[in-house]
Symmetry: C2
Subunit: 584 residues, 2 copies
C-alpha cells in the first residue's frame, strides 16, 4: 500500500496518527540541523520534517539529497506544526518522518512546478505532463471533468439516452473539410471522420430514440485559428416531438443547472433576442450583454447635414463610452488608430464629448450643432461624462467594426467580468447566408435546418430574407451552443438541397440515406449542440480553451507533446500508393 492518506487531507484531528504518504517533492528547505520537505500530490501539499534530534543520520543525509520532483514514499507520525500556515488546508500539521523511500528520481524539470512558473508557453506545451502537475492546469482538467459529469447527470435525469455514433463514416460534407481515413479492407475507398454526428442523431430520431445526447469528438481538417483544435468536443443533443420552445426550455435549464452546480450562480430566465435585433443593437450575433453600450443608429439625425462621409454611408451608428469624456485628445487619437487597424478596418471615427455641464464637443462641430449632438447622446444613451463614438459605412461592415470597438472598450473598462454570467438566446437566424465571393447562398446553420413556417415559398424570390427555426445560446459574448428544428420530410429536404445548389443526383448520392429514412415515418425533431471546450473555458472564467485540454495541439495540428503526426512508414506508403493507383 503506497499511502494511507493523500497529501491534502491531514489536519489537527490526525495528530499522533501514523500515516503513509506518497508524492512529489515540491521543494525542500535544508537548515543543516533540520530539513523540511513539501510533499505534493493531486490533492494538496503536506510538510515533512526531518531533524537531527529525531531522525537518524543516514535518513537525514538522504533527505538532504532529495531533488525537486523526486517521487517518494514516507511513513511517519502526524505532529503539530510549530509555525502554522493558515493558508494551507494541512497548515496545522507536519509529518515527522520515520521511513523514507525514493520511488523514482527526477532530473531537473525544465521549468518550476509552481502556480506561477518560470516556463514559457512553448516549453510548458512541450512538457505538457509537467505542466499538468501545476495547480492551475490540473484544476482546469478537473473542472472540465466536473462540467461533463454535471451535463450527463442533468440530461440522464431528464430522460436523455447517451448513444455512441460511429467515428468511421461515409463523408457527408458539412461546411468544413473532412479528415479522410484510407480503408485497407476496401482498397481505393476512404472513411471520413465526422464533423458532427448530425445525420446520425437525426436517424436516431427516425428510430424513435426521442431524447438523445452524446459528448463526442468532432473533426475538422481546416486551418487552425487561435484555440481551434482539429478535433473538438461537442455536447450533442436531439429531441423528437418538440418545437423550438421545448428545446430552448430544456437547454436553458441545463445551462442554469451548470451555472448553479459549477459556479454557484443563480440566473433568471434567459432573455431571447431576434437575430436582427442582435445585429442592430450589438452588431454581432453573439452579443455580450453583461454591459450596455447598445448601438444607436443615427441615420435620420446625422445625415443630410453637409457631412458627406455620413451622407454617403448606408449606416451611421454610435455607442456611448461610459466616462469616455475623461480621455485626452491623445487617447482618443489612439482609439481612432485602433479602429483603423486592418483587423477592424474602419476608415475613421467621429466622436462627441458629453461634458458635465450638458454641452457637447465633437470632432465634427463644423456640421453638427449642440441640438444635433444632444440627439446623438440621447440615441446612444450617453450621459454627461461619456464619449459618443460614431462609425459609418456599409451596414454589415460598420456593425462589425463598431462591435469590435464596443468589445475592446468594455475590456479596457473592466466591464467583461469573468465571474458574471449573462446568457441569452439569439433566435430567428436567417436560413441562408450569401457568400459574397461566389454570389451563392449556403446554409447558415446546416442544410437540415427548417425554415420558419410559411417561408418556404420565399426561397425562390428572396432567399436572404427567409428565417430559420434556428437558435444560438450565447454566454458572455461567446456562442456556446446552437441548433435548429430540422426538416423532417423528404420533399422539403429535397427543395432545400436544390436551393443550396445540389443537383438531385448529388443530393441523393450524399444524403439519400437520410431522405430515404424520412419516408418511413420521421417525427418532427430538433436539437442543439454545445461546444464543450468553449463552454468549459467560459464557465471556468477563462477564454483559452487550451488550458482545459490535457493534450492540446499546436497551430499546425500536431500534438504538442508527442510530436504527431508521424511520417508514414514504407509499408503503409506502399499500400496507400496502391489504393490511390487502383482508384485512378
Amino acid at each position: 500500500m503506497y499511502r494511507s492518506h493523500n497529501c491534502g487531507e491531514l489536519n489537527a484531528t490526525h495528530i499522533n496518527t501514523e500515516v503513509t504518504l506518497s508524492g512529489w517533492v515540491q521543494k525542500s528547505r535544508d537548515k543543516g540541523f533540520i530539513v523540511w520537505v513539501d510533499l505534493r500530490d493531486r490533492y494538496g501539499v503536506t510538510q515533512l520534517v526531518f531533524d537531527e534530534e529525531r531522525t537518524s543520520k543516514e535518513m537525514m543525509e538522504r533527505a538532504q539529497k532529495l531533488g525537486r520532483e523526486f517521487v517518494i514514499q514516507v511513513k511517519g507520525k502526524v505532529i503539530e506544526r510549530a509555525s502554522k500556515n493558515p493558508n494551507m488546508p494541512t497548515g496545522e500539521i507536519e509529518i515527522l518522518v520515520s521511513e523514507l523511500t525514493i520511488l523514482n528520481k527526477a532530473i531537473v524539470p525544465p521549468f518550476t512546478i509552481e502556480d506561477e512558473t518560470d516556463g514559457g508557453e512553448d516549453l510548458r506545451m512541450k512538457y505538457r505532463y509537467l505542466d499538468i502537475r501545476r495547480n492551475p492546469v490540473k484544476n482546469n482538467l478537473i473542472f472540465r471533468s466536473k462540467v461533463s459529469m454535471e451535463v450527463r447527470n442533468f440530461l440522464s435525469n431528464n430522460g436523455f439516452i447517451e448513444v455512441e455514433t460511429p467515428y468511421l463514416i461515409k463523408s457527408t460534407p458539412e461546411g468544413a473539410r473532412d479528415f479522410v481515413v484510407p480503408s485497407r479492407m476496401n482498397e481505393g475507398e476512404f472513411y471520413a471522420l465526422p464533423q458532427s454526428p448530425q445525420t446520425f442523431k437525426q436517424l436516431l430520431m427516425v428510430g424513435g430514440m426521442d431524447k438523445y445526447f452524446q459528448i463526442v469528438k468532432c473533426f475538422r481538417d481546416e486551418d487552425l485559428r487561435a484555440d481551434r483544435q482539429p478535433e473538438f468536443t461537442q455536447i450533442d443533443c436531439e429531441m423528437a416531438f418538440v418545437e423550438q420552445e421545448d428545446i430552448l426550455n430544456i437547454f436553458e435549464n441545463l445551462t442554469r443547472h451548470l451555472l448553479k452546480e459549477i459556479n454557484g450562480v443563480e440566473v433568471d430566465k434567459f432573455p431571447r433576442m431576434l437575430f436582427d435585433d442582435a445585429m442592430r443593437l450589438y452588431g454581432n450575433d453573439k452579443p455580450d450583454i453583461r454591459f450596455g453600450m447598445e448601438f444607436g443608429e443615427l441615420n435620420d439625425i446625422a445625415q443630410h447635414k453637409d457631412f458627406g462621409v455620413f451622407n454617403n454611408a448606408e449606416l451611421v451608428v454610435g455607442i456611448a463610452v461610459p466616462g469616455g469624456n475623461a480621455y485626452t485628445r491623445k487617447e482618443i487619437d489612439k482609439l481612432i488608430d485602433w479602429v483603423k487597424r486592418p483587423q477592424v478596418g474602419a476608415l475613421g471615427m467621429v466622436y462627441s464629448r458629453c461634458n458635465d455641464d450638458g454641452s457637447f464637443k465633437s470632432s465634427v462641430d463644423k456640421f453638427y450643432d449642440q441640438e444635433d449632438l444632444a440627439k446623438w447622446a440621447e440615441r446612444t444613451g450617453a450621459k454627461p461624462g461619456d464619449l459618443v463614438c460614431v462609425l459609418s459605412g456599409p451596414a454589415n461592415k460598420v456593425r462589425a467594426q463598431l462591435s469590435a470597438l464596443r468589445m475592446e472598450l468594455a475590456e479596457r473598462l473592466g466591464l467583461r467580468k469573468p465571474n458574471e454570467f449573462a446568457p441569452l438566446w439569439v433566435i430567428d437566424f436567417p436560413l441562408l447566408e450569401l457568400d459574397e465571393e461566389t454570389g451563392h447562398y449556403h446554409a447558415m446553420h446546416h442544410p437540415f435546418t427548417s425554415p420558419k413556417p410559411g417561408q418556404l415559398e420565399l426561397l425562390d424570390t428572396d432567399p436572404g430574407a427567409v428565417k430559420a427555426n434556428a437558435y444560438d445560446l450565447v454566454l458572455n459574448g461567446n456562442e456556446i451552443g446552437g441548433g435548429s428544428i430540422r426538416i423532417h420530410d423528404k420533399e422539403t429536404q429535397a427543395t432545400m438541397f436544390k436551393h443550396l445548389g445540389f443537383t438531385p443526383e448529388e443530393a441523393k448520392e450524399q444524403f439519400g440515406f437520410l431522405m430515404d429514412a424520412f419516408q418511413y415515418g420521421a417525427p418532427p425533431h430538433g436539437g442543439l449542440a454545445f461546444g464543450l471546450d468553449r463552454l468549459v473555458s467560459i464557465l471556468g472564467g477563462q477564454e483559452t480553451i487550451r488550458d482545459f485540454i490535457a493534450f492540446p495541439k499546436n497551430n499546425s495540428g500536431r500534438d504538442v507533446m508527442i510530436d504527431a503526426p508521424a511520417a508514414i512508414d514504407d509499408e503503409q506508403l506502399k499500400e496507400l500508393s496502391l489504393q490511390v493507383t487502383v482508384n485512378k
Copy 2:
C-alpha cells in the same frame, strides 16, 4: 406542444384527463363501426379509439386510413377500457380521440416493427433506424447508456477524473494495425487513430492526475471477426501509487456496483485464479466458472498401459459430463465428430460411461480395467450417470480442444445461464508470448507491462517463464477487462524494448516521448481497461455485441446503414497522390 404525456405513462388515475399524445401507429384494428389504434413511442404503447357514436365521420375515415408507422398526434380524453389488458402498463385505459393530426406519413416498412419481427438480419441492419424502433434493440441501447452512466457515477464518486485524450495522434504500434489519417496541413505526414489511450494515460500519471478514466473509442484496422468492430469503446482507467491489489479491489467494486445497480445481483468477493491454474483446470485464460466440469489430468494413471495414443501424448486430460451416460452411442459419435471438426481439431475422443451401478464402460476397455476407469472418474469428478470425455495430444492444443468441448457441452446442458454471474480475476499472466511462426517473443499484454518483482533477470535465460503484474477480469467465460502494473522507469522500459526486438533507435523513435517523461519523476502506476461493448452485452445477458450498438458495421467494416466508406473524390485524390509522391 406535441404531447402532454408519453405513450407509456397513462393509467386509471388519469381517467377523464384531456391529453395530447404523439407517436407511431404500431397497428390498427378496423371493425367498421370502431377503430382501435396502438400508438407507440419510446416509452410504451397506448390504445386510441375512434367509434361511430363519438367520432365524426370525417375523422373516422382518416383513422381508417392510418398506415403502419404513420407519425400522428392526437388529442383526446382518457377513458376506461372495456376489455382491460393486464400485461400492458397502459392496459386499463384508452384515449377517445377528439383531434387527429398526421405529422408524417410512412411507406410500408420492409419488416414489421414488432418484438418478434419477420425481418432477416441483413434487412434489419440495412434499415437500422427501423430496427431501433423495436423494443429489444431500443432497450439494449438504453441499457448500454445506463451501464455507461453507472460506470461514470461509480468512478466519479471514487475520485476518478475523466480526461479526454486526443484521437489524432502519432502512430505507436500496439499489436494491431493503425488506421492512418493523411494530414493536409503537413503534406506527406499522417496521423494515426489510437488503438487505445495507453501512452496518454501513462503520461497523465506522470502528470500527477493520479486517478484517470475515460470512456473512449479505440480503433484497429484489422480483419473483422464476428462481433469485432473496427472501432470499439473502452472504459479506460489508470491509477498512480497503487499495487495490483489496489487495482483489483477498486475495479472489483466497480463490477460489483454494476451487477447490483444494473442486474440487481449481489456477488461475493471475486475469486482469483493464477493464469497457470486457469489453463490447467479449464484450458482457457477466461474460464466460465458458472459450472464445474474442471479438467482432470490423467497422464500418471492413463499412460504406459499399451494404449499408444495416450502413451505418445504430452497431455491426457478429461472432463466429466453431468448426466452424459444417458447419451446414446449415436449421440456420442456425433460428439466425437464435433471435436474432430477443423474448428476444434482433435484427432479423436476417448470416453468412459459411468454406470449407475458404479461400473464403467469405456471406448478403450481393451487397455483399461474398471480400476483404471474408476481413477479417471475420480480425477475428473465424475459421478454415476456421467460421461468422462478424454482428449490427448500436445498440451496447449489439447487444452484448447477440451475447453471448446467443455463450453459446447455446457451450452447444450443449459449450464451457461444468462442471468447468473460468475466473475473472477485471472492473475500472474506470462509477460511474453512466443510467436510460434516467427520464433520471437512479443508482449502478451503490451510492452509497458512490468514483470513480477525479481523476474527481470529471467528475461535473458527463460523469457517464456517470466510472469507479469498483469490481470484479466473474466465474467461468464468472457474477458471483460484487463490490465497491468506498468513499468515506470526508463531503464526497465528500455530493457523491455530490447527483449521485444527493438533497437535502441527504434525504441527511442517510437516511445522516446514516454521514456523521457519517466525521467521527470514518474510514480508507480497501473490500470485496467474494460471492453464496454462486451461488458454491456454480457450484463445484458446476450453474447452479441451488435445488439447494443446503434450503428454497427458489417464484416468489411462498412456502416451497415450509410454504406461507408465512400470512394474518395478527385480533389481529395489529387491531394493524397501529391502527399504520397512528396513522401517518396
